[in-house]
C-alpha cells in the first residue's frame, strides 16, 4: 500500500514537472522531452495502480505496453517534424540576411 502510494505521488509530481517544461521552455526539443516525461508519469501511475499486493492486474500492464510503443513512434514523428521546421526556419533566416 505504502509502496503504491510512493509511486503514485512521485508520478503525479513528475507530471507537474513535465507540465512546467511544456509551458515554460521555448525550445521545441525541450517541449517534446517534457511531453515524454508527462507520458512516462502516466505509465508509472497506471503500473502503481495495477499492483494489488498479491496479484497484478494485467489490463493496465497491457495498456502501458501499448502506450510505450505508440509514445516512441509519436516522439520519432515529432522529432522529424521538428527537424523539418528547424530547416525551414534556417532557410528563412539565411534569406533574410542576404
Amino acid at each position: 500500500m505504502t509502496q503504491d502510494l510512493i509511486y503514485s505521488v512521485t508520478s503525479l509530481a513528475l507530471f507537474g514537472c513535465g507540465f512546467y517544461g511544456l509551458l515554460a521552455l521555448p525550445h521545441i526539443l525541450r517541449k517534446l522531452l517534457a511531453i515524454n516525461i508527462m507520458g512516462v508519469s502516466v505509465f508509472m501511475l497506471l503500473l502503481a495502480t495495477a499492483n494489488h499486493g498479491t496479484s497484478i492486474d494485467p489490463v493496465p500492464h497491457a495498456m502501458v505496453l501499448t502506450g510505450i510503443v505508440v509514445a516512441v513512434a509519436g516522439t520519432a514523428l515529432c522529432l522529424k517534424l521538428a527537424v523539418n521546421i528547424n530547416a525551414i526556419d534556417q532557410n528563412e533566416r539565411d534569406s533574410n540576411h542576404q
Binding site: G16, V59, A62, T66, A76, N86
Partner: protein
C-alpha cells in the same frame, strides 16, 4: 540530426520568457500536481481491478501469460488499433523520406574502413539479438515477452548495424510497404476469418487460440521491427552518395 537542431534556449527569433511568466507557469504546474495528488489521496481506493476476472478466464485464452492474454485475446481490438496507429506514423515518416526505388533494402559498404573489433562484435551481437528475439516471442505465451519486445530487439540490432557505418537501410517503395503492413494485414485477416458461423470478429476458436495468437505475433514482430527501424533511419539525414567516398555495392 541533432547537429542541425540548434539547442539554444532562444534560437532565432523567439525571445526568452519573462521571469514573471516563468513563475506563473511554475505555480500553475505546482497547483496541477498538488490537485492531482490531493485527488489521489482523497479518493477511495479503487476496486479489485480485473485481475480476478482475467485469472478466471485464462483457460479460454490459449496462452498462460495474463498480459499476453489481455493484449492479444481479451482486448485484441486495442492491439489491432495500436498496430494501425504505428502504421500511420510509419506512413507519415515514409512520406518524408527520399525515394529509394532503385536500391536494395540493405546495402553493405565494403570499402568502409571500420573498426575490426566493432565488426566482429556486431557479428556476435546481431546473431544473439535474433535468437533473443525469437525466445522473447515464444516465451510471451507463458512469461513476460511477446511481439513488442521481440520487434524492438530486432530493431535495436538493425540500429547497431546502421550505426557501425557498414550497413545502410533503404526503403524500397513496394518491399517497405509489404514489411510495414504485414502485421496489420495478418491481424485483420485472422480476425476476419474468425467471424464465421456464430463467432464474432477477433473471437478465436478455443482449440486454435494459442496458434492464431502466435501467427499474429510473428507477423506483428516483423512489422514492429520494420516500423521502429524506419523511425530511426528516418531521423538520420542519410545521403550516402554525398557522404561516402565509394559507391556502396549490393
Amino acid at each position: 540530426m541533432f547537429d542541425r537542431l540548434v539547442l539554444h534556449e532562444t534560437s532565432g527569433t523567439k525571445p526568452a520568457l519573462k521571469s514573471s511568466t516563468k513563475i506563473a507557469c511554475g505555480l500553475a504546474s505546482f497547483a496541477l500536481s498538488g490537485g492531482l495528488i490531493a485527488a489521489l489521496l482523497l479518493s477511495e481506493r479503487a476496486g479489485p481491478g480485473l485481475a480476478a476476472l482475467t485469472a478466471s478466464r485464462m483457460d479460454e485464452s490459449g496462452v498462460e501469460n495474463p498480459v499476453t492474454a489481455v493484449l492479444l485475446n481479451f482486448r485484441s481490438y486495442d492491439t489491432l488499433l495500436e498496430i494501425a496507429v504505428l502504421l500511420i506514423v510509419a506512413v507519415a515518416m515514409l512520406s518524408m523520406q527520399p525515394s529509394a526505388t532503385n536500391r536494395s533494402m540493405v546495402e553493405v559498404n565494403h570499402r568502409h574502413s571500420g573498426d575490426p573489433v566493432l565488426a566482429g562484435l556486431l557479428r556476435w551481437l546481431v546473431a544473439l539479438a535474433t535468437v533473443l528475439s525469437g525466445y522473447l516471442l515464444w516465451t510471451g505465451a507463458y512469461a513476460p515477452g511477446g511481439a513488442f519486445q521481440a520487434g524492438s530487439v530486432i530493431a535495436g540490432a538493425c540500429v547497431a548495424l546502421k550505426l557501425s557505418g557498414r550497413y545502410h537501410f533503404f526503403w524500397h517503395p513496394l518491399k517497405a510497404r509489404l514489411l510495414l503492413t504485414i502485421g496489420l494485414a495478418v491481424f485483420v485477416l485472422v480476425g476476419g476469418f474468425c467471424a464465421t458461423g456464430d463467432k464474432r470478429v477477433l473471437e478465436y476458436p478455443l482449440e486454435y487460440a494459442g496458434m492464431l495468437i502466435l501467427i499474429i505475433e510473428l507477423a506483428a514482430t516483423v512489422s514492429i521491427a520494420a516500423i521502429l527501424l524506419l523511425l530511426f533511419t528516418g531521423l538520420q539525414d542519410d545521403k550516402p552518395d554525398a557522404t561516402q567516398a565509394g559507391r556502396p555495392s549490393t
